[in-house]
Symmetry: C2
Subunit: 242 residues, 2 copies
DNA sequence: GTCTATATGTGGATAGAC
DNA sequence: GTCTATCCACATATAGAC
């Protein structure tokens, strides 16, 4: 507690800079020298404080995901307590899951849009250690929300719900990560969201207003038609996590 | 045409291997030595045939996107000719755009699911030269489909259509790229799609049956509600491409 | 066209002084 | 805790023999 202050500051500064650079250039595209240079700390500081570049990335995420996971579980608990045993509405489940995420984007203390973009992009990083890490960090929350969606949509086959959960994650991740990517592809400006004029808070709010109806529309879309009993074969996937 | 055969084989073998490795490990995570080693060609062969690693990546995509772009434009032309001036149905536009893509996944000669996964993942690669390249390759096709969607959904604000186009691209990219990613996150098997038992062709068909209703449901979802005239401010984005 | 050998740069990590 | 100096593996790219 005496000279810890400088040390804590160094740690936090490294994490903040790493978060921003990993977002902008990807894991492999960001070097330790870029990070320590921008953070104005010594090259050896990362290894001293975190042990390795991989461990640094994990810590960048752990810092934020601790809050996100807790908040997502808390929101779901609150909704289910309020419902008193009755199934939730699909819109409530989505609001708890994605609304919590988007609220992080409005709060600079929680990483703001920088962390949201990093999260969206990192989910597609192919490195094994990253995939393994995310699987562990997300498992509990995903399991809880999966069950909530099963109860909210009792007439929809569970396999279909899981597929659509994937699609929603994808749409959301791209929407977030791509506030500057996809408008290049489509060659269009997207109102205030891309510019700085309206600020980060507005960006997250705009995005939420746009994406939530889309997700709900997709989740509740008519079921696909299969020939014969193809659907039966897809029924009831077994969760890996007991 | 005399001893060209060996040379052409070398080129193609490099492209095939690069496609697979870029898909599995990303651009930065794949070294020239990995590529030339797997392709069983000399280390210098890549630079001889393609000039650089960046140029190799571009060629990997050009080879496939030439077909995809042509086919997407052709499908749209055919539908519009058939409609004789009347607007298309949203489902027709989606079928032409995403159906064409998914049909590549069933055809090994066009890269199959390997290329589809590579495409989905590469769209989020942050490297500048990759983003620039994709912007150029996609511009014409995206512009045509954007206009087709505007006509297909005359009551939906153009800005909202563009947003939803983004969301659809995201959902599709993740669904494709994540046939092995997202099931880690959700901790669930996804029927035949993940395994090899049913083959690549079936994987693309399964995915199509699942994702198309989702996309259509999202595209046609009720419009979001904004307070006051927030919507007006977002109206009529100006395409960068004249 | 293919190969060997090598130029030249950068990566992550660490030992040891302060 | 911080810093310098350095190790060493590996990256892309190329020059020049065959």
């Amino acid at each position: 507690m005496s000279d810890n202050k400088t040390s804590q500051d160094t740690r936090e500064r490294i994490l903040d800079v790493a978060e921003r650079l990993f977002m902008a250039h990807g894991y492999e595209g960001t070097s330790m020298r870029m990070i320590t240079g921008d953070a104005e700390v010594n090259l050896a500081a990362v290894n001293y404080h975190f042990g390795s570049k991989e461990a640094l990335l994990r810590e960048v995420f752990r810092r934020r995901l601790a809050w996100l996971n807790h908040e997502r579980l808390h929101e779901l608990d609150a909704l289910e307590a309020e419902a008193g045993g009755a199934p939730l509405k699909p819109s409530q489940v989505l609001e708890a899951f994605f609304g919590t995420l988007l609220r992080m984007g409005e709060n600079e203390a929680l990483g703001g849009m920088t962390f949201l973009r990093l999260l969206g992009r990192t989910l597609t990083e192919p490195a094994d250690f990253i995939r393994t890490f995310f699987a562990g960090e997300y498992a509990e929350v995903i399991e809880r929300y999966k069950l909530a969606l099963f109860r909210a949509l009792p007439d929809v086959p569970k396999a279909e719900i899981i597929w659509r959960f994937h699609f929603m994650l994808g749409a959301m991740s791209y929407a977030i990560a791509g506030t500057d990517i996809l408008q290049v592809v489509t060659g269009c400006e997207l109102g205030d969201l891309s510019g700085e004029k309206a600020g980060e808070r507005n960006a997250a709010k705009q995005l939420a207003a746009r994406v939530m109806p889309f997700l709900l529309g997709g989740l509740r879309a008519p079921l696909p038609q299969f020939e014969g009993d193809a659907y039966q074969q897809q029924e009831m996937p077994l969760p890996k996590t007991a």
